[in-house]
Assembly symmetry: C2
Homo-oligomer: 296 residues x 2
């Protein structure tokens, strides 16, 4: 389940509410795309900004429109009680997997994060992916903690943060984590810019923001790696460097929101305030980059 | 309003709900204590972990039990729509001031934070304190941004993060910020360990976690500074070094939760999971430190 390419679509919304029509449109684009799974209500899916009842509805809309593509649902929240409610609801709704980040306001201690995962693992039967994203949660996992959590029942994968661009460093990181967790737990990379490095280093999958809107370009990279075409895979990723650069400058969610609007798949303002969409010159830059890559 | 000593009490709670009896007990302890204001639903008051309806009720309980002490309410939230709802509700309820932090999940851009404050400033008539707390929000204000926000209508104060222990560095920091904001905007220090440095450097107030439970020890420091007794003020703060050390190691909220329980003012588990209270040896350390300081 937590292998290959997992696509993370945006949840378009405005101050008036979630744009379910646009959201289900994005989900349907992924159905025959060839992605192995889709991750709804990930960071790019604005899970952290939605109320519990909104998240339950988004998930049901995704499941109703996902065709045969397995759906992974983000269940992270600041409080354990909310995580549990979302986990049980997602399981009832029929998700294939759960994605859980240790969201924080007060900095969390290792034993608190471990207890959070113990509580959720004991409450569900659905496989769980540990979402390691220090850029948003500000929690830093040690490999020892990853090892303890990965040994819990129902833990099936770890979504690891962006790897170094340097191939040796990336491979060393993947190998170190691999050595710390049980062999049945898959490792999937995030950070699209260096995903090819993770795949070449033997990670099992790619949790991809880009694939949420442009599954083909991500699939090309995954297939090249699968065919043993290391040079080709790297070249495909390098070709996308202008896109990776936009992510670095503006944040992936703002670029994807802009791109989705440029494709007329959602309205101009589709992020939860205080997050703002890109404007004027920034928007034109995104348009130029996507146009240059043949993505518009 | 945003001057002198402002005390920030805990909001004791459990998975079963908020312990309103314990909370109002903490509020009532502050009524005749001599503090200049109280800040409810601050970071130590767990605002980030509570639902909107819970926060509205906590605020009303505080106002009903605060006697003549002005109440400042934390109104931070991940979404602008929730901040606005909380701001208008707090104003309706009769608070003296609002405390607004740029809470983040996706890292925020300067113009997004500015727009958040513009929106709230335009919607209320109540004075607002800008809550600068990079340890929890992970947003770093520049002085230029502080200057632009401080010039907005209704902005009355900035709650600044912990200053350096070094007196020259602390004074330089306060002076630099002072030079960046209008003169009617007060500066109040956080980070109890170095609060005395901020007060001696001429900041207008102290937003204090310690004062939420032990107003006397904080007031002694404030009064010594007010009397021009620099050495005495520093000595009072140095005497509390074992307490500051506990904050550093365990986080202020966990220490205050433990101290509140040791004083039998709330139950043993009074933090929102995944945050856990201190246990066994850690709890005994807190007990020993507080006992040694005559605070139990």
């Amino acid at each position: 389940m937590f292998k290959g390419l997992s696509a993370f679509p945006l949840t378009p919304l405005s101050e008036a509410g979630i744009d379910f029509r646009a959201f289900t449109g994005l989900v349907e684009r992924l159905v025959d795309s060839g992605v192995d799974s889709m991750g709804v209500l990930g960071s790019t899916g604005s899970y952290a900004y939605l109320q519990t009842h909104e998240r339950k509805r988004v998930l049901r809309e995704a499941l109703a429109h996902a065709g045969g593509v397995p759906v992974i649902a983000g269940i992270g929240a600041l409080r354990t009680r909310d995580v549990l409610e979302l986990a049980l609801d997602a399981e009832d709704a029929g998700v294939a997997g759960l994605l859980l980040a240790p969201v924080s306001y007060q900095p969390l201690k290792d034993h608190e994060v471990q207890a959070l995962f113990e509580t959720v693992c004991a409450a569900v039967r659905t496989p769980i992916c540990v979402y390691d994203n220090p850029g948003t949660t500000h929690f830093r996992f040690t490999d020892a903690l990853h090892g303890r959590i990965a040994a819990l029942p129902n833990i099936a994968s770890i979504k690891i943060p962006r790897l170094a661009d340097d191939p040796v460093e990336a491979a060393t990181r993947v190998a170190a984590l691999r050595a710390s967790v049980p062999s049945h737990v898959t490792l999937g990379v995030s950070g699209d810019a260096s995903a090819v490095r993770g795949l070449l280093a033997g990670s099992d999958g790619w949790y991809s923001v880009t694939a949420g809107l442009f599954p083909e370009v991500a699939l090309q990279i995954v297939r090249a790696v699968g065919n043993g075409d290391e040079e080709g895979a790297i070249a495909l990723s390098v070709r996308l460097a202008p896109l990776w650069s936009l992510y670095d400058r503006f944040g992936g969610i703002r670029v994807m929101a802009c791109a989705t609007a440029l494709l007329r798949l959602c309205g101009e303002d589709c992020l939860p305030l205080p997050l703002q969409g890109l404007r004027d010159g920034e928007r034109e830059e995104v348009e130029a980059v996507l146009g240059g890559l043949g993505l518009l």
